[in-house]
């Protein structure tokens, strides 16, 4: 067993230690906290690279190594935990530690004015530790624990500025919404345990729950509605992923989560945590793809595909009309997560995870870029109040443009194009239905469109932020920021190097990643499923691939072109102008602007019903239970009155008499209590003499 496998646990434990230590630090120890967090992340990154090197050049089953150990034993049952090292794990840990380190460094600049700097890095480290633990876990229970820890860290970080009511509400919303998915997830775990008797994924004797014996047992067991146990468990586990990854019914928390600090949005709500759901599906893929007898397609994967496709188009549709720079990116994330799910559902682990990895880089880049913009524009988040920033912030502009092109899928040199193309390719080959393909294509078109719209608003034209300056800074998002900055002219300014450097590195990675992800040499996707990649020109130049490349290229070009036509030709002059798109399609635009009113729907249904139920319980408590309690109380009072009479006339009389006697006796005895220590000592001495005498005489008899 190699050294790195033995010590894989160090990767999550180092950030955990950093979190623990910085939790004990005092507020002024800012540089120490930041140094600890970045240092631990850097060390974890080095370890991750070692783990990565360990998996290189291994193919098939040999690429998976794991280490299990006993956690505790209850009677005969031994609960075992462990960690697993395979390409999936290695790629994820490298990505998380690398992107995480950059985001940590960025945060040093972004949070430099915040008084709770130390706490921020404590939370970030805690999050990183939990996320890394989630990735390396070889046990569903351990994965779930880390999953919940990740959720907790996300809650803490979204609500980092908890004095803002919106941030506190967003944190609560994120926590509760993901909890709904987690309940099902936990049910799935429990069911899985009852079916297989273990939660380890892989074991030395091949009895793990993702291995042949357990899978065969599960697929053979049919439960309610003719559903095989494996399918039901797969669906339940997917519910967890829905909650965490912001898939369609439970996506509402993710855009609100943008209330947190921007590095948090980049790290948690774009690159890593939301990808945990996708990762979960990829991790339990052997379970997901089990084909139930009598059904043509694996049921869980079908659900994954459809939910993913719908989310992809939904997110893109909403993103078209938003005005908050971070919200656009948030809905874009929802949409891209849908893509990943769809990729997993129709193309397998390689396709979905490939998009996850590339997306992590360019979405982190975009979020950090938006953070830099927000920072530069004095905490302004509304794109209508920006504009013309290109000339103020050239570095941010260049890197942001790279990110935007990667997200839109500009052909050939951006990795985003190739990973998205893989998904579309797989969708084209999807047998049961072509609808996901067209949904995906529509999503791609919209993505290009809304990103162009955002770019035009932010960078083109001239700066529109001055209009707001006349008003008092009424909606200043965090008070400690830029107190000194209010004096000088309120032009946007470029961010410090500590913030632009991570941007540049991420932009470089976004481009460089292309080298290993084209169909010419598809090293990254093949690595993820532990197969050797070959340089194969034929793969690129066969008719199907080529056609698809052209089609998606055209679609992207169309999206960008349309966006430019709407927004780029005539940049907005004033912040409160009507959106050009709104002028054309007012009704549809209203739907999109209102996010299809999902939040309102939930408020009108689930939340309201819940409140009703609460009121009902309250009424029940007050009317019925309180009455009972009062009755008991009255009865007790009545008894007490009777007892009081008895007390007064019987007990008290006797007691008084007794007391008089005792007092008389005590008065006599108190004469002995002279207060003179010598007298007491003398008595003790006399008693001693007496006792020794008796003892001596008695013993000698």
């Amino acid at each position: 067993m190699s050294w790195i496998l033995q010590n894989l646990w160090l990767i999550p434990v180092l950030p955990l230690l950093a979190a623990g230590i910085s939790a004990l630090l005092k507020r002024p120890n800012r540089s120490l906290a930041a140094g600890l967090a970045i240092g631990s992340m850097g060390a974890s990154f080095l370890l991750s690279c070692m783990a990565f090197a360990e998996t290189l050049g291994k193919h098939g089953a040999a690429s998976r190594q794991f280490h299990n150990f006993d956690w505790f034993a209850l009677g005969d049952t031994v609960v075992r935990l462990g960690w697993v090292l395979d390409p999936l794990t290695a790629a994820m840990v490298v990505m998380i530690t690398f992107v995480g380190s950059l985001i940590f460094i960025f945060s040093v600049g972004y949070m430099s004015h915040d008084e709770n700097f130390t706490r921020f890095f404590c939370f970030l480290s805690l999050f990183a530790a939990a996320m890394l633990g989630l990735i390396i876990a070889n046990n569903l229970l351990l994965l779930f624990m880390c999953w919940e820890l990740v959720g907790l860290a996300s809650y803490l970080l979204i609500g980092f500025w908890f004095h803002k009511p919106s941030a506190a509400a967003a944190a609560k919303k994120a926590f509760i919404t993901t909890r709904i998915g987690d309940v099902f997830f936990f049910l799935g775990i429990v069911w899985l345990y009852s079916e297989t008797g273990t939660l380890l994924f892989y074991t030395e004797d091949h009895t793990g729950c993702l291995e042949q014996a357990a899978l065969a047992k599960m697929v053979a067991h049919t439960t309610i509605g003719g559903l095989a146990a494996s399918s039901a468990i797969g669906l339940l586990l997917f519910c967890g992923a829905i909650g965490k990854s912001g898939q369609l019914p439970l996506h509402v928390w993710l855009p609100d989560a943008m209330e947190g600090p921007t590095p948090v949005s980049a790290l948690i709500h774009a690159a890593t945590m939301v990808a945990a759901g996708v990762f979960l599906v990829a991790r339990v893929y052997p379970l997901m793809e089990l084909q139930q007898a009598g059904v043509s397609e694996p049921i869980p994967l079908t659900a994954v595909t459809w939910i993913g496709a719908l989310t992809a188009i939904f997110g893109a549709l909403v993103a078209v009309s938003q005005t908050d720079i971070k919200r656009i990116l948030a809905y874009s994330t929802v949409s891209q997560l849908g893509y990943m799910m769809m990729g997993l559902g129709i193309g397998g682990v390689a396709v979905g995870m490939f998009h996850l990895l590339t997306h992590a880089f360019f979405k982190a880049l975009l979020f950090l870029g938006s953070g830099s913009i927000i920072h530069g524009c004095h905490e302004e988040q509304d794109i209508r109040r920006m504009g013309g920033i290109k000339k103020y912030m050239p570095v941010t502009f260049a890197t942001y443009a790279i990110g935007m092109m990667a997200l839109s899928g500009v052909p050939l040199v951006f990795c985003g194009f190739w990973s998205k193309d893989e998904i579309l390719h797989a969708a084209w080959l999807y047998q049961p239905s072509k609808i996901p393909f067209f949904l995906g294509l529509g999503g791609a078109f919209l993505t290009a469109f809304y990103m162009t719209r955002q770019m035009c608003f932010v960078f083109a034209g001239k700066y529109r932020g001055h209009a707001r300056e006349s008003m008092a800074d009424s909606h200043d998002s965090h008070p400690a920021v830029h107190e000194a900055g209010h004096g000088h002219a309120h032009d946007p300014h470029e961010s410090p190097a500590v913030m632009t450097l991570p941007l540049q590195i991420l932009a470089a990675c976004t481009v460089l990643l292309t080298l290993v992800s084209t169909p010419l040499w598809p090293w990254l996707p093949e690595y993820l499923v532990a197969q050797a990649a070959h340089f194969d020109a034929a793969k690129l130049f066969n008719a199907g691939t080529l056609t698809l490349l052209v089609v998606s290229g055209v679609v992207v070009a169309g999206g960008i072109g349309l966006g430019w036509w709407f927004y780029g030709l005539l940049p907005a002059e004033k912040p409160d102008e009507t959106d050009p798109l709104e002028q054309q399609f007012p009704e549809q635009f209203a739907w999109s602007r209102g996010k299809f009113f999902v939040d309102e729907l939930y408020a009108a249904t689930f939340v309201k019903w819940n409140a009703r139920l609460g009121e009902l319980c309250h009424d029940l408590d007050r009317r019925v239970l309180d009455l009972l309690v009062s009755l008991v109380g009255w009865a007790t009072t009545g008894c007490a009155h009777v007892a009081k009479l008895f007390d007064e006339f019987v007990v008290n009389k006797l007691f008084d008499a007794g007391c008089t006697e005792v007092r008389r006796g005590a008065e006599a005895a108190s004469e002995l209590q002279s207060g003179q220590i010598h007298q007491y000592l003398r008595s003790i001495g006399l008693a001693l003499v007496l006792f020794v005498f008796i003892l001596a005489v008695g013993c000698n008899k």
Partner: protein, 103 residues
């Protein structure tokens, strides 16, 4: 070699001197000194009995003496602190003047 009774008699003598002092002296510190003497007499007894016992290798007497020394140290510290406080309060350390608790 001195027999056991020699040590026991010395110990008894010390004890009674201490007792006499504690019974007669008016100053609280002197009373405490008397008590210390009595404790030491008891220690001497422990050691003497240990030395003359049939199984001295068990060291029980030594242990008892050690613990008793430690306790005596604690007792002296607390006792003297109490006396100092009494002195501060009553402006005297004579125990026969401190009789507020009499019946």
């Amino acid at each position: 070699m001195t027999p056991l009774s020699g040590y026991l008699l010395v110990s008894a003598l010390l004890f009674c001197i201490g007792l006499a002092g504690a019974l007669t002296r008016r100053n609280a510190i002197m009373v405490l000194i008397g008590i210390e003497l009595m404790l030491n007499a008891a220690n001497l007894n422990f050691i003497a009995f240990w030395r003359f016992s049939e199984h001295p290798e068990t060291q029980t007497g030594l242990m008892f003496a050690l613990f008793s020394i430690a306790i005596a140290a604690a007792e002296a510290a607390v006792g003297l602190a109490l006396i100092i406080t009494i002195y501060r309060h009553f402006r005297t350390a004579n125990v026969d003047k401190v009789e507020e608790m009499k019946g």
